[in-house]
């Protein structure tokens, strides 16, 4: 036993335990995010409870635990119907329950407002259309199919309206500029443009009226619903986004519903102050910002790495550059945010505004947070990642290759561009991907230089000049913070946050795994093992 302790085997086990703790923590993190995130979209059964006091409750079971006060087991139900009950969730003690059932015709309505509605469908009042189906549920589905074309048409009108709006807005800005340059000289131009603008506005108004009329027409078709508490409610068809009867769905239809929700998540816009609907603008914003960032950080990082590895002689200057690289990597990200705000947004952005858009002041164009400033700030933040990876890959190229190239009469630059850089490409890619992963997950600086909770327009669209560098954008990481911590109904928003977290985590983990895989492959390609 004494020898056992002396040789230190127990300590080895202790160090092993430390590693085990770290791995358990990581697995717990991933596991928590996965279980909470993946389960959210699965159509869960609507359970109806009859309670001792005679009341009935319909909802989805979300949690079970011991009541901290009484020690009894209790259930957390998502009862939905926020507009009627005031709250989405309700705790029920198990001993209060006298009966539970799964009513086959219980309907889940996803609504445009107030969250989900759980209840029974009684009837469909159809005005202007004839419904042939037998049961109310089928009637409702039929009605939805019948008006689908009209809804598409209104969507098209809405699109036209937003284009018109955009056109009118750009004319307004042009007018503003003309007026600023001199009201008298440009009087004719101003008059012309005003006329065009008024025409657009008039068109906008007519289209708006059309859309409203169509919607009003659809709105006359309503579903009469009753909830578990006995109350009834007329819900107009325009309110309903999707409906399902989770209790009478087969496994396959549930899978279909699940996939449909995933599609909605990836491709639709958010609803209900980001707590429902899709994540499309946030995904798009994140990707746009990261790509734009790479455009800035990649050349800078690669050049700096080439300097350090191929051109610099070992000396004070090189050491200083290395210290600078390390500091760029080590300075807190929030400091970059502060720098971005002071230098890019108010400094450069403010100057651009006063030089090129003085007519719009005091409304800032570039002098406020936007995607360009965010990308530049993050580019600075991620440059060290590119530098380190590129340098490493350059270092791993055997010296003989350089010497061979130089011996054949190539210049240093030719060696670099024709031999070294192609060979180092996987390493540079590693750096690029790692920097993208870092940028995708960084939130603190973005909060200061241009991320918003809800951006009305994407930073890239069909309107000239397509890229709108001055626009604010949405970001997955900020979405997590904002929805999870700043939304008024955190409990109801939680599933959405888990889903967002899962998505972000998946992006980052996949990106970094790819990068690490590339790097390791490259390492084993060139390095020969020693000893």
């Amino acid at each position: 036993m004494k020898v056992f302790w002396k040789t230190g085997e127990p300590y080895v086990l202790a160090t092993g335990a430390a590693l085990a703790v770290i791995l358990v923590m990581s697995l717990t993190l991933i596991g928590t995010v996965m279980t909470n995130g993946l389960g959210y979209f699965w159509p869960r059964a609507l359970v109806q409870f009859e309670l001792k006091d005679g009341s009935r409750v319909l909802g989805q079971i979300t949690q079970q635990e011991k009541n901290p006060l009484s020690g009894e087991r209790r259930l957390q139900l998502k009862v939905g119907n926020r507009d009627i009950f005031g709250q989405d969730f309700r705790w029920i003690d198990e001993k209060e329950i006298t009966a539970r059932s799964l009513p086959a015709d219980a309907v889940l309505l996803e609504r445009r407002e107030h969250g989900n509605y759980f209840g029974m469908l009684k009837d469909v009042t159809a005005e202007g259309i004839t419904l042939t189906a037998a049961t109310p549920y089928e009637k409702l589905q039929q009605a939805r199919k019948l008006v689908a074309g009209k809804i598409d048409a209104t969507a098209k009108i809405k699109k036209q309206m937003s284009d018109l709006n955009y056109a009118a807005e750009s004319i307004r800005l042009k007018l503003q500029k003309l007026e600023y340059d001199g009201k008298e000289q440009n009087a004719t131009a101003i008059a012309e443009l005003t006329a065009v603008r008024e025409k657009k506005m008039a068109e906008f108004t007519t289209l708006n009226e059309q859309a409203t009329a169509t919607l009003a027409e659809i709105g006359k078709i309503t579903a009469r619903m009753t909830d578990a508490a006995g109350g009834s409610k007329e819900i107009s068809l325009t309110e309903i986004i999707a409906l399902q009867r989770p209790n009478s769905m087969s496994f396959l239809t549930k899978c279909g519903a699940y996939l449909e929700r995933v599609r909605e998540l990836l491709l639709d816009d958010p609803r209900e102050s980001n707590t429902e609907g899709g994540l499309f603008p946030a995904i798009f914003g994140t990707v746009m910002m990261v790509l734009l960032m790479s455009v800035f950080s990649l050349p800078f990082g690669v050049i700096a790495a080439i300097y350090l590895r191929e051109y610099a002689r070992d000396g004070l200057l090189t050491r200083m550059v290395r210290i600078a690289v390390n500091n760029l990597a080590g300075v807190p990200s929030i400091v970059y945010g502060v720098f971005g705000l002071g230098f890019f947004v108010y400094g450069i952005g403010g100057s651009i505004d006063s030089l090129f858009f003085p007519e719009r002041l005091p409304t800032p164009t570039f002098g406020t947070g936007g995607i360009l400033w965010s990308s530049l700030t993050l580019a600075l933040l991620t440059v060290p990642v590119v530098i380190v990876a590129t340098e490493e890959s350059l270092a791993s190229i055997p010296k003989g290759i350089r010497e061979g190239s130089l011996a054949l009469g190539a210049t240093k630059f030719q060696t670099l561009t024709k031999i070294l850089l192609p060979m180092a490409t996987p390493g540079i890619m590693t750096g690029l991907i790692l920097s993208m992963a870092r940028a995708a997950g960084e939130v603190a600086p973005l909060m200061i230089v241009g991320v918003v909770k809800l951006a009305p327009t994407l930073p890239f669209d069909a309107n000239f000049p397509f890229f709108h560098m001055d626009r604010k954008f949405m970001h997955l990481g900020f979405h997590i913070y904002d929805v999870g911590f700043q939304s008024p109904n955190v409990e109801a928003a939680k599933p959405m946050v888990y889903v967002t977290t899962m998505l972000l985590l998946a992006i980052v983990v996949i990106a970094s795994s790819t990068a690490i895989y590339l790097r390791n492959r490259m390492r084993s390609k060139y390095t020969t093992s020693t000893f």
């Binding site: 080895v12 791995l23 760029l328 080590g330 400091v335 972000l504």
Partner: protein, 742 residues
């Protein structure tokens, strides 16, 4: 052709070299640039204030020969006015001293012939006390506009303010009149023979809109500890303050019509110098007191031991003294700045920061002084009849090293404190910008996290580099590296919304785990010994021990969770948090330092692990081989040979981890309650410098004090992490040099 090609290649080569060198140096430039740019925003906090004479005008003898009662100026130092005894406002252009207009005060009360005194109310309003004791109130508007060709036009107007109008009364020496919001007005008179009278003029409107006026007046009956030497009233007409020639301060409650209630009397100084002037500082909480010895102090009522619920006036701030008797004190309408003066100098002081901002020497003894409504120009009329106007530039009077890093006695507080509270609903709020609670929060969070992360990360790195089988090592290292890529917002979210409620339910299990997991480990070690000697598994387990440890850890945590439930019911009456509060008096926050330790620790573990593991692995293998060959066990080799050799690298890993923890924003923002408190308790939250920036900067107006202070905290963070990173890098370079030749 060939020659051309070679030339071109050479030219390209040289050009590329220059460009690449510039690119490399750009890294240094950007680091320096970041520091310069953020410092440049923070620096104006410490710029000295200045007062420049904007204009000097010799007032025409015709005007200055009569008695001048008041003066005033406007924001751009282009116009000024004098009010003479006849009640006429004379407006001047300051550029050339020409008289722009003379306007007689409107609505002169009946029977009044000349002005006796003027009281400036702030926001351009003046109360005029006439010789017969009547009071009227006027608003003086004076603005200047600059046309494109540089000509300056003044606009001026004197209008009646209807809410204050009092009829004649006799024997008045000095008078104050205050409107009472929607209910009428109150006037406070200092009558000859040291008497005070408070008269309320209340107007009540009934449902039909008919007004009912009630007049009440009350005379002061309390005996005074000396002769009255200075009197002032707050803006709402609730409190009346007076000072005596024997140095006593008195305070009355006059908020109720018909009563004057003496609240207290306090000696203002030990040497009983006569009080010469009294003024309320913006916000009406603090009273500025000047005495015949030139002392300038500010007072406000606080709870004193032995006085029960009553608050008593207490000397809070002592500002720089004047040499002669304090002749006047003017409070700035914008902040807590005070202008005070004796016969030949004017001092500008800030109350909260106790900073002496400026000392202005007027050309001759000053008879009247006034501030413009926004407080940025100071006008003074001296005995020679010259009107001087200064342009005041006091960018951030409330900020000093004292307010940023020292204890400050804020209004309404019972003692000096470190406090951060940057904004409030009202304008006259005293911003509290002490960086101490934030620096403290940063250090607390970092220490907690490091305490959790460093042992785990270093031990795990030691295991991975020295004991783990190479094949597994190739898999585990990337896993930890991917862990490093987990966005901090994800960790923060889980910590705040998943871990915090979980731990909140069973806080004891955390402490239990700390005891039980090592215990379990010890048990396993003994079992291990048994298993190992008895089984041929030895060869297989070597290098894979940690896999066996995973279930041990999980089991340990699970046991701790179970046991904590038992312990809570038996030892702490079922509720540990309640017990904590009732027995130890410790408040429990759901988002506390334990959460931060785990979450922030989790974030820095991969960083420390990766760097330390690299350092440990880079120790030349011939050292370990030699040690093993000499018969040392693998642990002895790792502990006595590898670790000491790699110590600089390991140390630099810890430092880099430290640097990361200091600057981490999202985790701290989400997993703490962001309460800027000074408490070492593990059960309380905190607010760190970085989270503070993230919380406050979206609401900080451009170039305000708050904005600059936030930039200053970014500078602090930068410098702090710069020192740590540079130190770590120096250590690492040294380490590399030491083993570089192998």
């Amino acid at each position: 052709m060939a020659q051309n090609f070679t030339d071109k290649s050479r030219r390209n080569d040289r050009l590329a070299e220059i460009l690449i060198r510039i690119g490399g140096l750009f890294v240094i430039v950007s680091v320096v640039w970041i520091l310069v740019m953020i410092s440049r925003v923070a620096l104006p906090l410490f710029y000295p204030p200045s007062a420049k004479i904007a204009a000097t005008v010799k007032v025409a003898a015709a005007i200055s020969s009569g008695k001048v009662l008041a003066i005033g100026s406007e924001e751009n130092q282009q116009g000024a006015f004098l009010l003479d005894e006849s009640g006429t406002f004379h407006f001047f252009k300051l550029a050339d001293g020409s008289l722009s207009a003379s306007i007689k005060a409107p609505a002169v009360p009946t029977g009044a012939t000349r002005l006796a005194a003027v009281e400036y109310l702030g926001k351009s309003a003046c109360n005029l006390l006439w010789d017969n004791g009547a009071i009227s109130s006027v608003a003086v508007a004076l603005t200047s506009a600059k046309a494109k060709d540089g000509t300056i036009t003044l606009t001026h107007d004197v209008s009646v303010k209807e809410d204050i109008a009092f009829a004649a009364t006799s024997g008045v020496v000095q008078s104050f009149a205050r409107p009472i919001e929607g209910k009428g007005a109150v006037r406070i008179d200092r009558l000859s023979g040291d008497r005070l009278r408070v008269s309320h003029q209340l107007v009540e409107k009934d449902l039909l809109g008919t007004e009912k006026r009630t007049d009440t007046s009350a005379d002061l009956t309390d005996p005074l500890p000396g002769r009255l030497s200075a009197v002032t009233v707050d803006a709402k007409g609730h409190y009346l303050y007076a000072g005596t020639d024997t140095g006593w301060l008195l305070r009355w409650d006059i908020s109720e019509a018909g009563t004057i209630k003496l609240l207290e009397s306090t000696p203002a100084s030990d040497n009983h110098k006569a009080i010469t002037s009294l003024t309320l500082v913006l916000g009406d909480v603090s009273l500025a007191v000047g005495d015949a010895g030139g002392a300038l102090t500010t007072w406000f009522p606080i709870k004193v031991a032995g006085s029960g619920e009553d608050r008593r006036l207490t000397r809070i701030h002592t500002l720089r003294a004047n040499t002669g008797a304090t002749a006047f004190i003017i409070a700035s309408p914008r902040d807590k700045t005070l202008y005070s003066g004796d016969s030949d100098t004017i001092h500008v002081d800030h109350m909260t920061s106790e900073r002496n901002l400026l000392t202005i020497k007027p050309p001759a003894a000053v008879t009247h002084t006034a501030l413009s409504p926004k407080g940025n120009s100071l006008a003074a009329l001296d005995s020679s009849g010259t009107l001087t106007v200064w342009k005041m530039a006091i960018p951030h009077p409330e900020i000093s090293f004292g307010t940023l890093f020292g204890k400050v006695w804020y209004e309404g507080y019972d003692k000096p404190e470190y406090s951060w509270q940057s904004s409030a609903a009202n304008d006259d709020f005293e911003p509290k910008m002490s960086l101490v609670p934030l620096v403290f929060g940063t250090i607390k969070a970092t220490l907690c996290a490091m305490l959790f992360a460093v042992p785990l990360a270093l031990l795990a790195a030691l295991y991975t580099s020295q004991f783990m089988s190479p094949k597994l090592k190739g898999r585990i290292k990337p896993v930890v590296e991917i862990m490093a890529a987990i966005p901090s917002v994800v960790i923060g979210f889980l910590a705040g919304l998943w871990l915090a409620p979980l731990i909140d339910k069973s806080i004891l299990s955390v402490f239990m785990s700390i005891v039980i997991v090592p215990l379990m480990l010890l048990v396993t070690i003994f079992l291990w010994k048994r298993i190992k000697t008895a089984s041929p598994l030895q060869k297989v387990t070597r290098g894979h021990e940690f896999i066996a440890m995973i279930p041990v850890v999980i089991l340990g945590i699970y046991l701790a969770f179970l046991l904590s439930g038992v312990a809570e019911t038996t030892l702490f009456a079922g509720d540990f948090k309640q017990w904590l509060f009732s027995t130890l008096g410790i408040r429990y926050d759901q988002r506390n330092s334990i959460i931060i330790a785990i979450a922030l620790g989790f974030a820095v573990i991969p960083i420390i692990f990766t760097i330390a593991e690299d350092a440990l692995s880079n120790v030349p293998r011939n050292l370990t081989a030699a040690s093993l060959a000499l018969g040392a066990s693998r642990w002895q080799t790792a502990w006595r040979v590898v670790l000491p050799s790699a110590l600089p690298g390991v140390f630099s890993a810890v430092m880099i981890g430290f640097g990361r923890a200091i600057g981490e924003t999202m985790i701290v923002l989400m997993a703490t309650g962001n309460t800027p408190i000074l408490s070492w308790s593990l059960f309380n939250g905190l607010r760190s410098l970085s989270a503070n920036i993230a919380v406050e900067i979206p609401e900080a107006p451009l170039n305000s004090s708050l904005y600059r202070v936030l930039f200053l905290s970014a500078v602090l963070l930068f410098i702090f992490t710069f020192i740590i990173n540079t130190g770590a890098e120096a250590l690492r370079q040294r380490f590399r040099k030491k083993y570089g030749r192998y």
